[in-house]
Structure formats: structure tokens, C-alpha cells
């Protein structure tokens, strides 16, 4: 098991090289560079431009730029953001927390609702409540996140829900006491969290339902019932535990998308997270910021997948990795 994990981790290195070089050369395809905008300003002389280009290695051929970026990365320096005039690592760190706050909160909401709802649907299969929930699940899966965001914003504004629209904090946030800050933040999170958790909730409860239905048809459940165990015990102690197992893989995938998955929602809801940062970075040809985001996103994805595999092996003794 440990050897398997170590091998998978070692294997991440060539993968990251591949990902970063791919994204670097994609960015090179665009006409101009991060300083093109600056060159248009009449205040900036030719000499300054030359000096700037030399400082940020933009006068070098692309493969040299990439090579230098890798060398710097190994020293722990992710490069300089042209848009923010700050180190990339600093810029990303500012946003990572915001994104995590949103995605983790919506994962918690989705999972804590999906499991009980899924169990209810399976136990009361084809009842009116199951049918209603199935109906909502199909809607939840099919509605694009960003469109749901727009709809909620519209309802919020016209129906007088009074929730804040966009952003993460109110303007006078700094003057609030601690609890006021918490409440303010929570109020700002309501809409984005609803948007983000809807799709996850809908698909998770369907998975939970069909897994539990599968398990309930198995022989050991019949045996448990035959022993005279209470139905509650049969379901919660025997069936549900087995039905949750396959969901662990899904959890791993969600862990992988924990940073990049909320991008469009962040943009619609004006949430200052990684997604909106990435959009700005791409539009401003801020190479190193884009690269930094991509690499961190990819690392998260790889770690998520690995975690899924490991968790699955840990929970299911039938699975063994060489």
C-alpha cells in the first residue's frame, strides 16, 4: 500500500512537467504578451520596455522562459504576476482560502443532505416522496450552475430575500465585531453555497439511492431480516454502511475539483476566489499566474484521485494495490 502511494506520488512529477509545459506553450500561442498593454502607454519608453522584458525573461525564446520558470519553481518561487505586481504565490494564497471556504461549505451541505435523502428514497422506493425527490434530482443535475446563480440572484432581488448580492463581505466589514463578521460572511455565502451544492446534492442522492437499493437486494440483508433484526438495524447498521462505500470514489473526485470546480459560480456570484482570478489572469495574459493556478489545480486533482483510491482500499478489504 505505502509503496503504491509512493510510486503514484513519484509519478506525479513527469505529469506536472507535462501539464506545465502544455499550458505554457498554449499561453505562448496568443499574440503579444503580458506587457503589450503597457507598451501602448505613451509614458513608457522603449528602454523601460526593454528593461522590463529582460527582467521578466520575456526577451528569451519560449523554451528558455519555461526552463527558467521550472528552475525558479524548484526554488519555491512561482514567478511574478504582471497584473497584480506581486509574487504569484502571494496572489494565489489570497484567494485559495476564499475558494476553499465556498467549496468545503457546499460539500458539507451536499453530503449531509444527500445521504439521508438517498436513504429515504431507497427505503420508500416509488412512494410519492421518492418520485418528487427524483424529479428534483433531475432538475438539479441538469441546471447549469451559473444559470441557477442568475436565477437565485433574480429571485433574491425581486422577491426581497434581502441577501447580499455578490462579493464576500460588506463594505464596512472591517469595523464589525467578530460575530457580526461571521454573520456577514455567512449571509454572503448563502446563495453561492446553494448554487454549488445543488448539482452535487442531486447526483449524490441518486447514487446513494441506487447503491442502497442494490445492497437491500443482497442475501445478507435477507439473512439479517430473517434473524429477526429490527428494520432500523438492518438498514442503518448493515445496508447503509455497504451502500456508502462506492461513494468514497466520488468524494475523491470532488476533492480534486475543490479548487477549480467553482469557477463559473465564483464569476457569476462575484466571489473573490481562484476561478475569477484565473479568468482575469487568462484575459490579461498573466502567464505565471495562469501557470501557477493550473499547476495547483492539477496537483489538487491528482491528490484527490489518489485519496479516492487509498480511501477505497482502506474501506474495502477486497481491494488491494500492488
Amino acid at each position: 500500500m505505502y509503496r503504491y502511494i509512493v510510486r503514484r506520488l513519484i509519478y506525479v512529477i513527469p505529469m506536472l512537467l507535462g501539464i506545465s509545459s502544455l499550458s505554457f506553450f498554449i499561453m505562448q500561442l496568443a499574440p503579444g504578451d503580458a506587457l503589450t498593454q503597457m507598451a501602448l502607454s505613451p509614458d513608457v519608453t522603449e528602454e523601460i520596455m526593454e528593461a522590463m522584458r529582460a527582467r521578466f525573461w520575456l526577451d528569451q525564446p519560449p523554451y528558455m522562459q519555461y526552463f527558467r520558470w521550472i528552475v525558479q519553481l524548484l526554488k519555491g518561487d512561482m514567478g511574478h504576476s504582471f497584473l497584480w505586481h506581486a509574487p504569484v504565490a502571494w496572489v494565489i494564497r489570497q484567494r485559495v482560502f476564499n475558494s476553499l471556504l465556498l467549496t468545503v461549505a457546499s460539500l458539507i451541505v451536499a453530503w449531509s443532505l444527500a445521504i439521508p435523502i438517498g436513504i429515504h428514497s431507497a427505503v420508500h422506493q416509488y412512494s410519492w416522496s421518492d418520485k418528487l425527490l427524483t424529479f428534483f434530482a433531475f432538475i438539479g443535475v441538469s441546471i447549469p450552475n451559473w444559470f441557477l446563480g442568475l436565477l437565485l440572484l433574480y429571485l433574491n432581488l425581486t422577491r426581497g430575500w434581502g441577501l447580499p448580492i455578490g462579493g464576500m463581505t460588506s463594505i464596512d466589514f472591517a469595523e464589525f465585531t467578530f460575530w457580526e463578521k461571521v454573520v456577514d460572511l455567512a449571509r454572503h455565502m448563502v446563495l453561492p453555497v446553494i448554487v454549488l451544492s445543488t448539482g452535487t446534492l442531486a447526483s449524490l442522492m441518486r447514487y446513494m439511492r441506487s447503491n442502497l437499493l442494490d445492497v437491500l437486494r443482497q442475501d445478507f440483508v435477507t439473512t439479517a431480516r430473517a434473524k429477526g433484526l429490527a428494520e432500523r438495524v438492518v438498514i442503518y447498521k448493515h445496508a447503509v454502511r455497504n451502500a456508502i462505500n462506492p461513494l468514497i470514489t466520488i468524494f475523491g473526485f470532488q476533492l480534486g475539483g475543490i479548487l477549480g470546480g467553482a469557477s463559473l459560480t465564483e464569476i457569476v456570484m462575484n466571489w473573490p476566489g481562484i476561478g475569477s482570478l484565473m479568468l482575469n489572469a487568462v484575459q490579461g495574459q498573466d502567464y505565471y499566474l495562469v501557470m501557477g493556478n493550473l499547476v495547483i489545480g492539477a496537483v489538487m486533482l491528482i491528490i484527490g484521485n489518489l485519496t479516492a483510491d487509498v480511501l477505497l482500499a482502506a474501506s474495502d478489504p477486497r481491494i488491494r494495490y500492488e
Partner: protein, 374 residues
């Protein structure tokens, strides 16, 4: 009563078929699919939507770039059938803009514009034929806006039809491209195995490991802003396909690996069939049912990606319509609250995705060999 009769018919068909020639698996699948009510409904909705988009020129009363800046954010026109208490042919009233700042319009009951069918409208070109025949419309100074108008006074209903051409077909075309790459790549990788397989799969995994939305953003941002719109459309299709093929290739490879071990492949090798022939004629067709189901279920992700990109302004560009970029006006919160009809394209995306998932679900049940005993 009708139900019972159908079942009886089915039973008889089953009986005679067992005595005579075997039914083809496709016919059996079709039969099962038809029993799946939601899937059939989804299929019909999709067919209608695609017809609506293909013949956009005919169904839309105006061309997609027909602008009228005096009718900014015109609300949906009401269709009346009573005029001064009398039942008349359906018509719309003319509208007066009473507030030019907030774009508030009122009906002007002195102007009446009856709705006519098969009218002459904006010219278009279909398959090399020039025409100006449109399904419905009103006389010139009047305008009919079924779903209201956008900022430039363009008819949202018409733009939905034209936008559907891009938003719907980006899914289909993107899928065909990524499927072909995925099938061939996965087929070759799985068939040859060994180091070829190893290298090919590592490359595919690189694509899989990049957060796809980031990659999409990066790729569409490097498209030069001044390329012609049809070229841009094709480039976006290829970008989507470029991101979509790898996951499929990996699954196909797995299936090919197991099919390779079967006797009929050994047989084909023994009689000297060439390797490309074995892959294309003998191995890949066996992955078909999986591929078809997977295809149907992954079209929505293409549609969602395109509309998401266009929505944030890096996909299909104005003045051309796509369901995504029509919604980007709604990002402005004051427009969103005052002109809620801007949200209509979102419902079209939603209905399309929903129909695809109903249809795909039914298709999976119909094509899955494990469910064949039912």
C-alpha cells in the same frame, strides 16, 4: 385498454420471432427504448429543438442581427385576440417607450398589427437558395417579440433559434471529433499494449489531470480576437474536443484490452487480417453500445462548456448569438431585475440538458446487455 393491447402485440411479436429469424440487437434496443416514457419524451424535445435550430431562418421572424436601437429591452409583446370586445385574428399592439432611461414600454392600442403566417421577412440563404419566407411576422412598423428584446432591440426568440445552431451543434460536432480521436487512440493503445500503451496513456492522463475549465479558459483566451466568426466557432469546437477525448480514450483502451483476448480476434489474426483492419472491423464495433450511451450522456457537457465560455465572454462573440452569450447581459444585475426575459436562453439550455439525460438514461437501459433479460 390501449396498454393491454400493446402488450399483447408485443407478446405475439416475441413469439413469432422466436420461431423465425432472430431479431437484431438494434431492433431489440429500439423496442426497449420506446417503453421508456421519459426517454421518448426527451428524444422528441431534442428533435424539435434541433429542427427549430436548423430551420432557424424559417421559424425566426427576424434575422439574428436585425437590430432596432429604439426598442432597447422591449418587453415580450402580448398577443391579443380581442379588439374592442370583438374576436379578431391574433394581433399585437404597437408599443410606445414611455421611459427612455429605464426602457419602460406601454401598449398603444391605436396601432394594431395582425400576425400573418408565411410572410416575407429578412433575406437568408439556405443550401444556396435565397429566400425570405418566414413562418410568422407582423407588418413593418410593428414588431413582434415573443420573448422580448435585448439591449440592441434584437428579437430574443429569433436569436434563440439562430443561437441553437451553435449551442446545440457544438455538442454534436465536438462529440463526433472527440469520439473519433478517443476511439482510434484508445483502440491503438489497447491493441498494441506494452510500451506504446504506456506512453499513449501517460499523454492522455496529462490532459485528464488538468482542471478542464482552466484549460478551456486558457485555450479560448489565446484565440485571436479578430478571426472570422465561423472559424472561431470551429476552433472552439476543436478546443472542447481536445479536452474531451482523453477520458473516453482511457475507457476504450480498457475495453479493447479485454476484447483482444477473445477468440475471434485470435481467429482474425490467424487468417492474416491486418492490424488496422482488426482494430477497426473487429474490436471497435464491440465497444459501440458503450460509446453510444457515453456519447449521449456527454453531449450536455459540451453544451454546458460552450455556453459557460460564451457566457463569460470568451466563447462565441457578439453579434452572433449563442445561448450562453445571450445570457451574459443578465450578468448586469440591474438589467437582470428589470428585463427578466433575458433569462429565457438559460431555460433552453436547461431543457436541452434535461432531455439529453432522460434520453441517455433510457438508451443505457436499452443498450446495456446486462439488462437484456428484463
Amino acid at each position: 385498454m390501449a396498454m393491454a393491447k400493446t402488450q399483447l402485440d408485443n407478446g405475439q411479436a416475441e413469439f413469432t420471432d422466436n420461431g423465425g429469424a432472430l431479431r437484431s440487437p438494434w431492433k431489440m434496443a429500439w423496442r426497449k427504448l420506446r417503453r421508456h416514457k421519459l426517454a421518448v419524451m426527451g428524444m422528441w424535445v431534442l428533435i424539435l429543438l434541433h429542427i427549430f435550430a436548423i430551420f432557424a431562418d424559417f421559424f425566426a421572424p427576424y434575422s439574428e442581427v436585425n437590430t432596432d436601437r429604439r426598442r432597447t429591452y422591449h418587453p415580450p409583446t402580448k398577443i391579443h385576440i380581442f379588439h374592442e370586445g370583438k374576436l379578431v385574428r391574433p394581433f399585437v399592439y404597437g408599443y410606445q417607450r414611455v421611459d427612455t432611461l429605464r426602457n419602460i414600454y406601454e401598449e398603444d392600442t391605436s396601432q394594431m398589427y395582425p400576425i400573418y403566417f408565411f410572410v416575407r421577412g429578412d433575406k437568408y440563404n439556405i443550401l444556396g437558395f435565397e429566400s425570405d419566407l418566414r413562418l410568422f411576422g407582423v407588418e413593418a412598423p410593428g414588431r413582434i417579440y415573443l420573448f422580448g428584446a435585448d439591449r440592441y432591440g434584437r428579437d430574443i426568440f429569433s436569436r434563440l433559434a439562430y443561437g441553437g445552431r451553435r449551442s446545440l451543434f457544438i455538442g454534436v460536432i465536438g462529440l463526433v471529433v472527440s469520439m473519433s480521436i478517443g476511439l482510434i487512440y484508445g483502440g491503438v493503445s489497447g491493441y498494441f499494449g506494452g510500451w506504446v500503451d504506456n506512453i499513449m496513456m501517460r499523454i492522455a492522463e496529462i490532459i485528464i489531470s488538468v482542471p478542464s475549465f482552466y484549460l478551456l479558459l486558457a485555450l479560448s483566451a489565446v484565440l485571436p480576437p479578430n478571426i472570422p466568426s465561423d472559424k472561431r466557432f470551429m476552433l472552439i469546437v476543436f478546443i472542447l474536443a481536445f479536452i474531451g477525448w482523453a477520458g473516453l480514450a482511457r475507457v476504450i483502451r480498457g475495453m479493447v484490452l479485454s476484447i483482444r483476448q477473445t477468440e475471434f480476434v485470435a481467429g482474425a489474426e490467424a487468417i492474416g487480417a491486418s492490424q488496422p483492419r482488426i482494430i477497426i472491423r473487429h474490436i471497435l464495433p464491440n465497444t459501440m453500445s458503450y460509446v453510444i450511451v457515453n456519447a449521449t450522456l456527454s453531449i450536455p457537457s459540451f453544451i454546458l462548456s460552450e455556453s459557460g465560455l460564451s457566457f463569460i465572454g470568451v466563447g462565441i462573440q457578439h453579434p452572433l448569438a449563442s445561448w450562453g452569450n445571450m445570457l451574459s447581459e443578465a450578468l448586469n444585475l440591474s438589467s437582470l431585475t428589470r428585463y427578466p426575459w433575458l433569462l429565457v436562453p438559460g431555460f433552453f439550455i436547461f431543457v436541452t440538458v434535461l432531455s439529453y439525460s432522460f434520453f441517455g438514461d433510457g438508451l443505457r437501459d436499452a443498450l446495456d446487455p446486462r439488462s437484456r433479460t428484463v
